[in-house]
């Protein structure tokens, strides 16, 4: 009897969400192991560092995407919110280190505000999330292109402030500063989701919005704030990317739509809402970027990469993404 309950307890502790997170990390480990087998040095400290650093950009965007997917939504506006915020950041700072702080705040604020509009329309006006964020992506693309005259305006060739360019390239205690920033985001998002009333409300909304509403929760406000956060995280990714590469480019956000959703799905976030956590997404982002790097190291052409990408997602879906049978 006691043996049975001990087994039950172990199974109980390993909830579905935790199991999926472990699987996602396992997936990352396998990619690195295969990589190390094929190329000596693929799993070296420097290589892992570089891969995780690239993964951090996906990770920032995917943090917001995870939050939105947790309530059964989706944010298709991340590419141009990211792009617009990145450009605004560079153009406003004019490369002066003294203007770095207001430029960062302004860009984050832009992301937050755009996300809030998305959230408001989805939560209060009942516009389907796919339609709303798709339209917003177009709106942001048009505004960005129009206002910067296709990034040809006089101030458009501004660089990111020197101080931030230096910062993202600097190592702190042997770890790139960018990774420390990501670690902070991971800690923050995980703590908020797992140990705060807000986090509890996010999961409740994703699992059963009616029940959450009838329990006295302001479902719409929480939903709106999640979209706002998604916009802000996209903006954060834009800032870091521009600081990293020095200058913004047009279309720099485009790859992040697919990658952020893919990272969340590989990480075990259910597209139906309410299940999964950001740690899973982190593992998903690392696996995804490691896979891309491995394919690059294998001299896989572009088209092959895209195909392997899609196949990898399908495999993960078929293994873990099935809806429950009625």
């Amino acid at each position: 009897m006691s043996e049975i309950s001990a087994v039950g307890r172990v199974q109980g502790r390993l909830t579905r969400d935790r199991r999926r997170t472990l699987v996602a990390f396992g997936f990352a480990v396998i990619v690195f192991a295969v990589g190390a087998f094929l190329h000596r040095g693929f799993a070296s400290w420097g290589s892992v560092n570089a891969i995780v650093e690239v993964a951090s950009f996906v990770g920032f965007v995917a943090a917001g995407q995870t939050l939105v997917i947790l309530v059964g939504g989706i944010d298709l506006s991340v590419p141009w919110v990211l792009n617009a915020a990145g450009i605004l950041f560079a153009v406003f700072s004019l490369g002066h280190s003294g203007r770095a702080v207001p430029a960062v705040l302004l860009a984050l604020g832009l992301g937050f505000a755009i996300g809030a509009v998305n959230g408001f329309c989805v939560a209060y006006l009942a516009v389907p999330a796919v339609v709303m964020t798709l339209a917003m992506n177009g709106i942001m693309e048009g505004v960005t292109l129009g206002l910067t005259k296709g990034l040809t305006c006089t101030r458009c060739n501004s660089y990111a402030p020197r101080v931030l360019q230096d910062f993202v390239h600097k190592d702190l205690l042997g770890v790139p500063a960018d990774l420390i920033l990501w670690f902070g985001v991971v800690l923050l998002v995980t703590v908020v989701l797992s140990y705060t009333t807000f986090g509890r409300k996010v999961y409740a909304t994703g699992n059963n919005p009616t029940a959450a509403y009838l329990s006295g929760m302001n479902v719409r406000l929480v939903t709106t704030s999640l979209y706002a956060l998604s916009g802000m995280f996209a903006a954060l990714a834009g800032i870091v990317l521009v600081s990293y590469s020095g200058q913004p480019t047009l279309g720099m956000g485009d790859p992040f739509l697919f990658q952020s959703i893919a990272a969340a799905v590989i990480g075990g976030i259910s597209i139906l809402g309410g299940r999964g956590n950001y740690l899973g997404t982190v593992a998903g982002a690392v696996s995804l970027v490691a896979l891309i790097s491995l394919l690059g190291a294998e001299n896989m052409p572009d088209y092959g990469r895209s195909i392997v990408y899609g196949v990898a997602i399908l495999v993960v879906l078929v293994l873990f993404g099935r809806e429950e049978r009625v």
């Binding site: 329309c121 709303m132 798709l134 339209a135 088209y303 990469r305 997602i313 879906l317 809806e323």
Partner: protein, 335 residues
């Protein structure tokens, strides 16, 4: 609803009731058509204001030829949306179809016919794979089609690494003749096919599934098979769209289809097809697709910087959605 015997109803009253029901049940499509007519009028007005003449054969031909690929893929998207799904891979199917045609099609009836059939079959195959993954493997449509989209985009670049290739001029003339707006016949044909589909068992089942999947199963409807058919039809229409696009541009582009992911969804939204499934008509989506094409021209003649184009498209889409839901709200309150 008045309680009265079915046998004592006068024929005139019956006709009125039919009209009333017909109107009430088609409000979204009627709204879509109204928007199309209003926007067309605006286009004609702006055109006249700028050029002091009315749009002629050349203008209408160009508009119709540009619109046909959107119309085709929008109808495909509508079929999937009616089942409560979504298909993001339609853009990828257009990419591949477009590239295949540009690389392989040679002048000569044989080659043109052969590759038309091959491309259409390819589209159906892609759709069928999507459908099987959604229906039989019970995966979420948005994720499945996002993944197949990536695969198709890769495939398109493999087939045609750079924009280029050539489409035989005979093919272009047959599909997208520049001498007159003959392509409007294709639009009418696809509308007719939709109306026919609506009247087949498959059409009814597609709608039944979108209304209530569980109920459909209880009625003995083979839900999985019908869903697969819906995605297959969508794939075929996307392939046709890719062929048309190749004919219009007389060349291929492995990324040509990407914009149609958003455009097809936008057309469906404008057409009033509900994303909750089971409701709406592809006729509305056709109107939506035409509206989007006219909108581009309106923006041009309104003197708006082309860079702002996607801004206005996004805004237009949003306003249309809000307008539709506001109208639905008002009608429900009055009913």
């Amino acid at each position: 609803m008045s309680v009265q015997g079915a046998t004592v109803r006068a024929p005139v009253a019956q006709k009125q009731r039919r009209l009333r029901h017909g109107f009430a049940q088609n409000v979204p499509s009627i709204l879509a058509l109204t928007i199309l007519v209003a926007l067309t009028a605006l286009y004609v007005g702006l055109f006249h204001g700028q050029l002091h003449r009315y749009p002629g054969v050349f203008e209408w031909t160009s508009i119709v030829n540009t619109a046909v690929p959107t119309v085709l893929v929008a109808v495909g998207q509508s079929i999937v949306v009616v089942t409560r799904g979504i298909d993001l891979s339609l853009g990828g199917i257009i990419d591949v179809s477009n590239s295949l045609a540009a690389v392989h099609m040679h002048p000569g009836l044989g080659s043109m016919a052969e590759w038309t059939v091959v491309v259409l079959l390819f589209g159906m195959l892609c759709g069928a794979v999507n459908g099987v993954l959604v229906a039989y493997a019970r995966l979420q449509p948005i994720l499945v089609t996002l993944a197949t989209l990536a695969i198709l985009q890769g495939l398109a670049i493999k087939i045609l690494p750079e924009p280029g290739g050539a489409i035989p001029s005979g093919y272009s003339n047959a599909l997208a003749n520049t001498g007159g707006p003959w392509s409007v016949l294709y639009v009418l044909a696809i509308a007719g096919l939709w109306l026919a589909l609506r009247r087949t068992a498959t059409g009814v089942r597609i709608f039944a599934i979108g209304n209530d999947e569980y109920g459909a199963r209880a009625h003995g409807i083979p839900v999985k098979r019908v869903k697969t058919i819906a995605y297959t039809l969508a794939g075929m229409l996307a392939a046709a769209s890719g062929l048309f696009l190749a004919a219009t541009t007389t060349a291929g582009d492995p990324a040509a289809g990407d914009v149609y992911i958003l455009t097809s969804i936008a057309a469906v939204v404008l057409g009033g097809v509900s994303f909750l499934g089971g409701r709406g008509s592809a006729l509305g989506s056709i109107a939506g697709a035409l509206t989007l094409t006219i909108l581009t021209n309106v923006l041009f003649f309104a003197g708006i910087d082309p860079l702002y184009q996607s801004f206005f498209q996004g805004l237009f889409l949003l306003v249309a959605v809000l307008l539709g839901s506001a109208l639905g709200h008002v009608l429900r309150r009055r009913a």
